[in-house]
């Protein structure tokens, strides 16, 4: 066994770190937090210039051919710095699906622009009545000659306001079982009938509700088979399997350690001397390491060609719940000062702890709630029966 990353991976880490020191300023961080938009044109361009917009992709497709382990190092550094990667992430996810199941025309039209950072693709999965149960989607796409007419409403379409296309899950058949009547489309967001309504969230992130009223989309923008949308979704979501929040816990730890070292109690004693503080830090150190191991294991399995079953959900579940618990703990340990918002200049450690309290909540919800992940682990990993 070897729990170290290879030298080549650590070299990538150092490169990313140097890149971030240059391009990830405190001003950019503050702009991202103030606008709630985890996407930045200049930062994206810098990634493109560096060849890092999709580093895991093969060189012939415009990537750098980094392997899963190198991507671990790259991902950890980007997360640790809270770099504005959300728009790039969804764009790449959809581009990968297009490469896998799209038409040649779609590949030619979309992929190069995505890799050049010229377009943003957003996700249109959730609906008011279909959250955890995505297959319950009722947004309709009805065929009309060479076009489809789309009507419905999608929730949580983050970055729609700066997006070029929405990767849309729509119902094309109401006569069959719910999983079997869905089709995926790439809907240009400048079409008439698309209406975007801003939604602001507890963590400060901006997302959107997108309304589709008689939006016409050419059949050329259909991705995958008609009524084969659930399979196309599965391709998309498989790439999410290595999700985990280890590096975000690391961000919390770094902030908490700097607070503990720099601040003192009412008697002028360093908070680092306080047993309660030390215990909270120790627990964070432990949860970070466990999260890291669970997450890295998934990357290693991918590299070793092993089939990931419950390991992906374990990584996501453990790290998101741990992040939430440790952020809550740390707020209580820090005391009243932890209430100061990120935007208060006197907030300890630039307000990262307060931000993390709010940010952490979403991590146990989006991309599948903790309950959905526990179901997956119980059923796929442990072989327990489906829950009623």
């Amino acid at each position: 066994m070897d729990f170290r990353l290879r030298e080549s991976s650590e070299a990538r880490r150092a490169e990313v770190r140097a890149f971030l020191e240059e391009h990830m300023s405190l001003a950019l961080e503050e702009r991202v937090y103030r606008t709630g938009v985890s996407h930045d044109a200049a930062f994206t361009q810098a990634l493109v210039d560096r060849g890092w917009i999709a580093p895991s992709w093969p060189v012939e497709f415009g990537g750098q051919g980094l392997d899963p382990e190198e991507m671990v190092a790259v991902g950890e550094e980007l997360r640790l710095a809270d770099a504005p990667m959300y728009g790039i992430g969804t764009t790449n996810m959809v581009s990968a699906v297009i490469l896998a199941v799209g038409t040649d025309a779609q590949k030619t039209e979309i992929v190069p622009k995505a890799l050049a950072g010229e377009i943003v693709i957003v996700l249109g999965f959730s609906e008011p009545e279909a959250g955890s149960d995505l297959a319950a989607a009722v947004t309709r796409a009805e065929r009309d000659g060479d076009e489809w007419v789309i009507n419905g409403q999608k929730m949580f379409t983050t970055n729609a306001q700066i997006g070029d296309y929405a990767f849309l899950l729509a119902r094309t058949n109401t006569e069959v079982a719910k999983h079997k009547g869905l089709t995926m489309f790439l809907v240009p967001l400048d079409q008439p009938g698309v209406e975007i309504q801003a939604v602001f969230t507890l963590s400060g992130e901006r997302t959107n509700i997108v309304f589709y009223n008689d939006v016409r989309v050419s059949d050329a923008w259909r991705v995958g088979e008609v009524d084969g949308g659930w399979r196309t979704m599965t391709v998309a979501l498989t790439n999410e399997h290595a999700a985990g929040f280890a590096a975000v816990i690391d961000r919390l730890l770094v902030a908490a350690e700097s607070w503990a070292r720099e601040s003192t109690d009412d008697d002028g004693v360093s908070r680092m001397e306080d047993e309660t503080v030390r215990e909270a830090l120790g627990r964070t150190v432990i949860d970070l390491e466990v999260s890291r191991l669970l997450q890295r294991r998934v990357a290693w399995m991918a590299e070793a060609g092993e089939t990931v079953i419950a390991e992906g959900p374990m990584s996501k579940l453990f790290s998101s719940e741990a992040l939430k618990d440790r952020a809550q703990d740390m707020v209580e340990v820090v005391g009243p000062d932890a209430l100061r918002s990120y935007f208060d200049p006197s907030a300890p450690s630039h307000g990262v702890i307060e931000h993390m309290l709010r940010f952490s909540l979403g991590t146990t919800i989006y991309a599948g709630t903790s309950e959905i992940h526990r179901n997956m682990i119980a059923q796929r990993g442990l072989g327990l029966p489906r829950s009623g």
Partner: protein
């Protein structure tokens, strides 16, 4: 044993519930953000006697019991009242206990609505009273200066930090020269007076947090009874129903304990300081956990500012943390029960 409040108390509760129902709707709570102060609500509370009830007849009040105050605090918590009700009641009770011309004059002005006095629960640090509850809206602040309790006017040089709970907190200048020149409320017994005030503060905040927790559970239950997934109401999933059952249980316990602690102020004074810390610790953890569960079961909706549950989530943490963490309150229970540690 009598677990039902008296008819008068039930009347009091329903009067305040009606006031909050009108003057502290979720829309009004949002409108008062980020400062966390609703002048109209505050005026109505004053008109209703919410401060004068906190002190005896001899101090110009109408001498409600601590239990009466706690029952009102429950309603305040349920409705997330954007007003420094508890801070002001605590200050009034401290002033009434202190007596003397400065305190008496100040108390009169407060009850007349001319001034708003708050107490810094912490001594100053590097010349500042930090995160003073109600500091952003009060006219005066009481604070410890050595063993003396002084009162200083709060000026425009206070700094109002944005905070997670949209509480009207302020960092207030409290340098040595300011404190040395300040009016004296008590000389020599400030630590004891502040500790007693803290007992009041803990017990009333416990009531407010218990009310907040009960309301958060109701919001969660309503959502679980309405939202469907996988062909059934989500409340039918044990992964949703069981945490709600636990939180309903804890909320019931928090409410009972807060009421007992408030009752004990008059009826069992020997145990009331211990009970105040117990009630606060339990209500704080319950409000923290209940708002978390209720928010989480909303899925992505809980995360939207448009839904009310986030208002509860944020305030449960702020109303707690601005005083003390639950763990500190648990250690305070031990201090009150066993006496302070010899080492400390």
């Amino acid at each position: 044993m009598e677990f039902r409040p008296s008819d008068e108390q039930l009347q009091l509760v329903s009067t305040f519930a009606a006031l909050y129902g009108k003057e502290s709707t979720p829309e009004r709570v949002r409108a008062a953000e980020p400062l966390g102060f609703d002048q109209q609500l505050w005026s109505q509370l004053l008109d209703m006697g919410a401060l004068s009830m906190a002190v005896d007849e001899e101090h110009g009040g109408w001498g409600a019991t601590a239990l009466d105050l706690a029952l009102v605090a429950e309603q305040h918590g349920r409705a997330l009242g954007s007003a420094p009700l508890i801070e002001s009641q605590v200050a009034c009770r401290l002033l009434a206990r202190a007596g003397g011309p400065v305190a008496t004059g100040l108390l009169e002005a407060v009850l007349a609505g001319e001034r708003m006095v708050t107490l810094s629960p912490r001594p100053p640090k590097a010349g500042w009273a930090l995160l003073v509850p109600a500091g952003a809206v009060a006219t005066d602040m009481m604070i410890r200066h050595g063993d003396t309790l002084v009162v200083v006017p709060i000026g425009d040089d206070r700094v109002i930090p944005e905070n997670v709970g949209s509480l009207p907190l302020a960092d207030v200048p409290a340098g040595e020269p300011v404190l040395a020149d300040a009016d004296v409320i008590l000389s020599g017994s400030a630590p004891e007076a502040i500790d007693l005030a803290l007992d009041d503060w803990l017990v009333l905040t416990a009531g407010a947090l218990a009310g907040m927790a009960e309301r958060a559970v109701e919001i969660g239950v309503a959502y679980a009874n309405e939202r469907e997934a996988f062909g059934q109401k989500i409340g039918a999933f044990q992964g949703v129903g069981h945490p709600l059952a636990d939180m309903a249980t804890a909320s019931a316990g928090a409410t009972l304990l807060a009421r007992e602690a408030a009752w004990a102020v008059a009826e069992e004074p020997g145990r009331s300081a211990q009970l105040a810390a117990m009630a606060f610790a339990f209500a704080a953890e319950t409000a923290r956990n209940a708002t978390d569960v209720a928010l989480h079961i909303h899925g992505g909706y809980g995360f939207m500012l448009e839904y009310d549950i986030q208002l509860y989530y944020r305030r449960s943490r702020a109303w707690t943390n601005v005083l003390m963490s639950p763990a500190k309150a648990v250690r305070r229970v031990a201090d009150k029960r066993y006496g302070p540690r010899k080492a400390s």
